[in-house]
Subunit: 332 residues, 2 copies
């Protein structure tokens, strides 16, 4: 790709995760669909927090996790998303900058607090998320930093932004800026229920020019309302330059033109917490892509990053992904 | 001991830990003494935070960690300490209640934010702490809940409170209430530099009637200004009913009257983070004591709790200490 200041600019919700363990019964007693994300109000967040056990707090947010992962590989990356000027906002801004991501979206002065996500981890390592979007929703088209977007090879957007109209407008603005500058637009579908809530908008956005699409099995079949993964994979082949379809421990399928590349998952001893698996897969993939690696190598970098993140609690890398990739012979 | 509502009421600073990894050079470059605690201002905290890498946040505070540990053993426990009505205050209050500790100190309405401690963990697992006391300092004699103190077998005080005059006054008030009601007073010396800052106050407090004293090697030798551990152990024998002297991997020495009981440390595969080792030793010991266990059994419960806490990041137990003690044959 052309020489640019940033490999990737990520745009998404700026969230602090509150991570607690729970059993399966807790999820069903509280009306949650295991493995998915639901939006909750401030009152619901307070009530649910009162019911969960002791927790830890750590920066999160889907695209923000991806940016942190790219920076951990050594990639140049920027993030756009809004926090409030409160303690969680400080935590979010500190962590994303500390890992080396350029971040300067002004924080919200008053009103909504920084977004938080109650992440409930069941004994099998699966995560179920309850998000209060707070200040994250106050991100509009005027926040889309044209300089930053046009100076990045790839503009990466998280589907969760579709849940708020203002953020959706920002989303379209960012994509327009990127396309006009001849940059690539990447999108992650984020969550099958999110796709279900906004299917037509997603389809029209994808058809309007998404170059690189990330989705897991339930998201891609939801997008095309097809029962079979293979059918959905066939549908996306005609619409995107590259589609990266992840299937958890079954690995990923990368579709591009006539090519179909299968990349096995990197084995892990035990899944401690699946939070961030998709985000970090995207991090490895996009880092590889901006370094002009082959699609198979991009997939392997994604699989490696995902394996690191699911081996511990939290969605931010605990080791240098660059060093990990070097140890695994994927980077020199 | 007599039948009471609570086994232990802990009184201390109400702190949220911000835990980050760093190398040895980072400590010396920032003028820190490895393994100790220093107090910093709000500005210093902000500046230092800007220099550290990505972090996680978790409830902390010395006596609060001890209370959390006692509750995890199944003990009835209460905590007195002050947070502000901010996000970190919510985190602290949530976590201590979620583990089963009674906590109802009103939060500070305005002014100082909730206390935070930048905990820096070096590759050897040792922790070095930088504390901004914030709202924690706004704890006075009038906050000492007489009902709660007199209804607990043991009132447990952390030495760190000596760093602020108002909290020190609260400390004396709590001890007076406990003694008058015929309850036991326990004290942890907290930190050798803290002892050094307030040696005469500590000595007069210990001589005024501390029944159970917790200290590590550097703290007890600092208290008595003796070079030898054995000499300091001899000095404390004359002054306290029970002294619990911890020596990291060399185990603990429990001194009571003419008895000297050596309790080996519980081996761990790798020390991930030493934060909370002393706090959790005290938790196991005090839980045993309030259950009328022998001093040796109390020491073994302390060693087990400490081994759990140093095997992972953070100073709050990740498993039920009750179940862990059952698996190790220490509880039925």
């Amino acid at each position: 790709m052309t020489d640019t200041k940033f490999g990737v600019v990520g745009i998404g919700n700026a969230i602090v995760d509150i991570i607690a363990r729970c059993d399966e019964a807790f999820l069903s007693n509280h009306g949650m669909e295991k493995g998915f994300m639901r939006l909750i109000s401030a009152d619901q967040a307070d009530e649910l927090y009162g019911d969960v056990g002791t927790a830890i707090e750590q920066s999160g947010g889907s695209a923000a996790n991806t940016c942190a992962g790219i920076a951990s590989f050594g990639g140049k990356c920027a993030f756009i998303g809004r926090v409030a000027g409160d303690q969680f906002g400080n935590v979010f801004a500190h962590d994303i900058r500390a890992i080396g991501v350029a971040y300067d979206t002004p924080s919200l002065d008053a009103g909504l607090p920084t977004a938080r996500c109650l992440v409930l981890v069941t004994p099998d390592g699966e995560r179920t998320m309850n998000t209060f979007l707070g200040a994250s929703t106050q991100l509009g088209a005027s926040d889309m930093d044209g300089d930053r977007i046009t100076s990045a090879q790839v503009t990466y957007l998280e589907g969760y932004l579709f849940d708020k109209d203002e953020a959706k407008a920002a989303f379209h603005e960012a994509a327009k800026l990127a396309r006009t500058a001849g940059r690539k637009v990447a999108l992650t579908l984020s969550d099958a229920f999110c796709v279900d809530r906004h299917r037509n908008d997603f389809l029209s956005f994808v058809r309007g020019g998404v170059d690189i699409l990330f989705a897991n099995e339930s998201e891609i079949t939801s997008l095309y309302q097809m029962n079979s993964f293979d059918d959905a994979a066939g549908a996306v082949r005609a619409e995107c330059e590259i589609a990266v379809l992840t299937r958890s421990e079954a690995g990923a399928v990368i579709i591009s033109g006539n090519d179909t590349i299968l990349v096995p998952a990197e084995p892990v001893e035990k899944v401690a917490d699946a939070t961030g698996a998709g985000d970090l897969y995207a991090a490895g993939f996009l880092y590889g892509l901006t370094q002009d690696r082959s699609l198979e190598e991009c997939g392997k970098l994604g699989a490696l990053a995902a394996s690191e993140i699911i081996s511990h609690i939290g969605a931010r890398p605990e080791v240098s992904l660059k060093e990990l990739a070097q140890q695994n012979g994927l980077l020199s």
